[in-house]
């Protein structure tokens, strides 16, 4: 059997979204309020998922389980709906968002190699977050810096002519930075 995803974690989503002052039980209480608001409407599932993602920044599994339980919808169905829409994310966002450009120019000038080096270095796939919650990895479509391809964006910083061999170093600067360059989007 293939192992279940390592992300998202079953753990309470307290630390990753900047609302760390809220305990898990308080978070779930707020989730219950959301569910109560929508419960009686038809097709309540999607609005509830949206509101919950706004609240937590992403949709942790314990939140999905709670929603299923309260709405009497099987967990597998809730997960099915969540995975159908790319809008929903079940992965917490890391402190730093890494986006590798795979626009045409970057693609032909080594973007793919940069991406696979990035995946290897971080040990995660596209759409995932490292276990220490430092990095999330995504793919971009042209950041408008084609002349300097391949391009990688980390948070708001554009890095040009990135070489696979230099990636460790590049990421190191962000890992070591005491304050993340940008607070992860949530709350």
């Amino acid at each position: 059997m293939k192992q279940a995803h390592q992300n998202p974690s079953e753990n309470p989503p307290t630390a990753s979204c900047g609302c760390s002052e809220l305990s898990e039980s308080e978070m779930l209480k707020r989730l219950d309020v959301i569910i109560d608001t929508y419960q009686s409407t038809d097709g309540a599932l999607i609005p509830i998922l949206q509101a919950a993602q706004n609240l937590f920044g992403y949709l942790p599994k314990n939140v999905l389980r709670r929603i299923g339980e309260r709405l009497h919808i099987p967990y597998s169905q809730v997960a099915g709906v969540v995975s159908f829409y790319s809008f929903f994310s079940t992965n917490p966002r890391g402190k730093n968002l890494v986006r590798v450009c795979l626009g045409t120019a970057c693609y032909v000038r080594g973007g793919k190699e940069v991406l696979s080096a990035m995946q290897k270095t971080l040990g995660i796939n596209i759409g995932e977050t490292t276990e220490d919650k430092m990095f999330s990895l995504e793919v971009g479509r042209c950041f408008g810096a084609c002349g300097l391809a391949p391009v990688v964006m980390i948070n708001d910083d554009v890095h040009q002519r990135v070489k696979p061999a230099k990636i460790k170093e590049l990421l190191g600067a962000y890992r070591d930075a005491k304050q993340p360059t940008q607070e992860a989007a949530a709350c």
Binding site: M1, K2, A4, I73, P74, Y75, S76, A79, G80, F84
Partner: protein, 592 residues
């Protein structure tokens, strides 16, 4: 009525009929993959396309209703080409190792590809990620073989109301299965195998015990015995091209003996025993309620069907005390085989191997429950489905159709007709009433042929009431009581019934639930494909078996009586019976 022409034949059908159904009526079988009898068509596979004269596009016949004057072609060159394309595309994504596939014998995709004349693959597609799910005791899932027809999703969600399976992701990445690629054991799957029964391909199959059973039969140090559930005799013949509903009890016994089992016994024997125990339990509950005025869980629910037990443990834990504490006949058999029979034989329980042949995949799970080792070792070692037994008989080179009839061995082989009908929805209840009525009144059940008509058939929820009058003095507290019973099959029907009971909208004394539609004859381990017509045919066969016996009531089974005299000396629900024949249940509601 609506008149139309299909392949130059005139046909008249009621409005709302689909082209697929209308064609079937005149003997034209349009191939289908996603369509499931009795359920709304989802129109996903497009294998069932037909051409309508004057229409620009081909339409899927499973979801298109007939129209007056319609002219339909189900086998035009355009249709054949379109079907071929659909199947070729499916094959391009498919892990096609037919030679070693569990479904080599009855795969709908393979048959379709063959009949459409596909002899080479034109498309080489990228194959989706393949993963195997072996987490449950009963089932295996192979995503590489799944064609995403969603029949299993419909069955698991709508017929069983379990919801373990659902489409995950979207488009090319779609996977049919539990949340987040979890294993079936990580979500509340009751292991009923109804998904495996409807899957057209080898994407969900039972976990095979065939090799283990052959190994046991080869092991000279083991005494290997077999028990066969009542539903096998009405379905095994289908593995050897007999029409559904052919009784093959005698041939089945001979085949098992030839395979090398040291004794061939009958789960029917412990079905009779179950009636003694479960009936006594019910009368005790009623006494507690009516005479002692003590709080007691009523209605009592039957407990023969392990999928139903697990369903209650997950979704309705508040009803656990309503479940009869009786083990299922399979597990009662294992427990007495490795104690009573082992002692008689002078065999140590650890040197005995008990094999079951069951119509059910959940029985594989049930045999692994930790509670099911009353003899000190695992009471039932291996569980074969009807399909697995058919396969073993074939592998052994036994010409099944040419076999003579054999007889079950003693002392665990004799049974009443009441035990046979355990195979059908309504049968356990009828068997219980045949015995309870007679115990309480001293008279035989006054109904025609001992049947309780309202409880028979395929309606999802059935009810009956029976007034107890002129009862024997020992049961005077039941004088004038109207015994109310209900029967449900298919877990969505069971859930609907539980919700009614919970809301106080229905009151019963005794409720029978079978996990699978139609009861065990429609079990997840039966030969494919089980339609309602097949269910009806098997049910008829079982009633025939029952009516053909001189012994029709469980309490009249002389070997059951002897078992109480020699072994369970303190009677039904006595101390020893509690040790061996009864069990307890686990609240699993935190796992949903």
């Amino acid at each position: 009525m609506i008149k139309l022409t299909i392949d130059r034949n005139c046909v008249e059908v009621p409005p709302e009929t689909t082209i697929l159904q209308a064609a079937k009526k005149i003997g034209i079988i349009i191939p289908t993959l996603c369509y499931l009898q009795g359920k709304d068509p989802i129109g996903a596979c497009r294998v069932c396309v037909v051409e309508i004269q004057g229409g620009r596009n081909l339409v899927s016949s499973c979801s298109t209703p007939v129209n007056e004057g319609m002219v339909v072609f189900t086998n035009s060159p355009r249709v054949r080409k379109a079907r071929k394309l659909v199947v070729e595309l499916l094959l391009s994504e498919h892990e096609g190792d037919c030679q070693i596939c569990d479904r080599a014998d009855d795969c709908e995709l393979k048959t379709l590809a063959y009949s459409l004349g596909i002899r080479e693959s034109h498309y080489v597609g990228e194959k989706p990620k393949r993963s195997l799910d072996t987490t449950t005791a009963a089932l295996m899932r192979d995503s590489g073989k799944c064609i995403k027809c969603r029949r299993c999703v419909t069955v698991c969600n709508e017929i069983q109301r379990v919801g373990a399976l659902f489409p995950q992701n979207r488009g090319y990445k779609t996977l049919i299965g539990p949340a987040f690629e979890l294993g079936l054991d990580d979500v509340p799957c009751v292991q009923c195998g109804q998904c495996a029964a409807v899957c057209p391909v080898g994407a969900i199959v039972e976990k095979s015990h065939v090799d283990m059973v052959w190994a046991a039969l080869e092991d000279k140090t083991k005494h290997v015995i077999v028990q066969t559930a009542p539903a096998i005799r009405a379905a095994l013949g289908e593995c050897f091209d007999y029409p559904p509903g052919t009784l093959v009890t005698g041939k089945m016994i001979t085949a098992l003996r030839r395979m090398g089992f040291h004794a061939v016994f009958d789960t029917n024997f412990t079905a009779d025993l179950t009636i003694m125990e479960e009936g006594t339990e019910l009368l005790m509950r009623l006494k507690k309620a009516l005479v002692d005025k003590q709080p007691v869980a009523l209605p009592q629910f039957s407990s023969c069907s392990p999928g139903w037990i697990k369903f209650t443990e997950y979704f309705y834990p508040e009803f656990l005390s309503n479940l009869s504490s009786c083990k299922s006949p399979q597990q009662m058999f294992g427990a007495i085989a490795k104690t009573f029979y082992a002692q008689k034989k002078g065999v140590r329980p650890e040197d005995m191997v008990v094999v079951s042949v069951m119509p059910c995949t959940a029985k594989k799970f049930e045999s692994t429950r930790p509670e099911m080792s009353s003899s000190g070792v695992k009471d039932v070692d291996y569980v074969l489905t009807t399909r697995e037994l058919g396969q073993m008989i074939e592998a052994a080179g036994i010409d099944f159709r040419a076999l003579e009839d054999g007889q079950m061995d003693s002392p665990l082989g004799l049974s009443s007709g009441a035990a046979d009908i355990f195979a059908n929805s309504g049968g356990v209840m009828e068997a219980a009433i045949r015995t309870a009525y007679e115990i309480v009144t001293g008279r035989g059940l006054p109904t025609e042929n001992l049947h309780i008509q309202p409880l028979a058939g395929l309606q999802g929820i059935k009810e009956a009431a029976l007034k107890l009058e002129k009862v024997l003095p020992a049961w005077s507290f039941l004088e004038g009581v109207e015994l109310k019973v209900a029967v449900a099959h298919g877990l969505s029907n069971a859930a609907a019934l539980l919700d009614l009971i919970k809301a106080g909208k229905a009151q019963y004394h005794f409720v029978e639930v079978m996990t699978c539609p139609g009861g065990c004859i429609g079990g997840g381990g039966q030969p494919r494909f089980t339609t309602d017509e097949v269910r009806q045919a098997r049910i008829q066969a079982i009633y025939k078996e029952d009516e053909g016996k001189s012994l029709r009531k469980s309490h009249e089974n002389p070997d059951v009586k002897k078992l109480y005299e020699e072994f369970f000396k303190d009677g039904p629900c006595g101390h020893k019976s509690h040790e061996l024949l009864h069990t307890h249940y686990v609240d699993r509601s935190d796992k949903i």
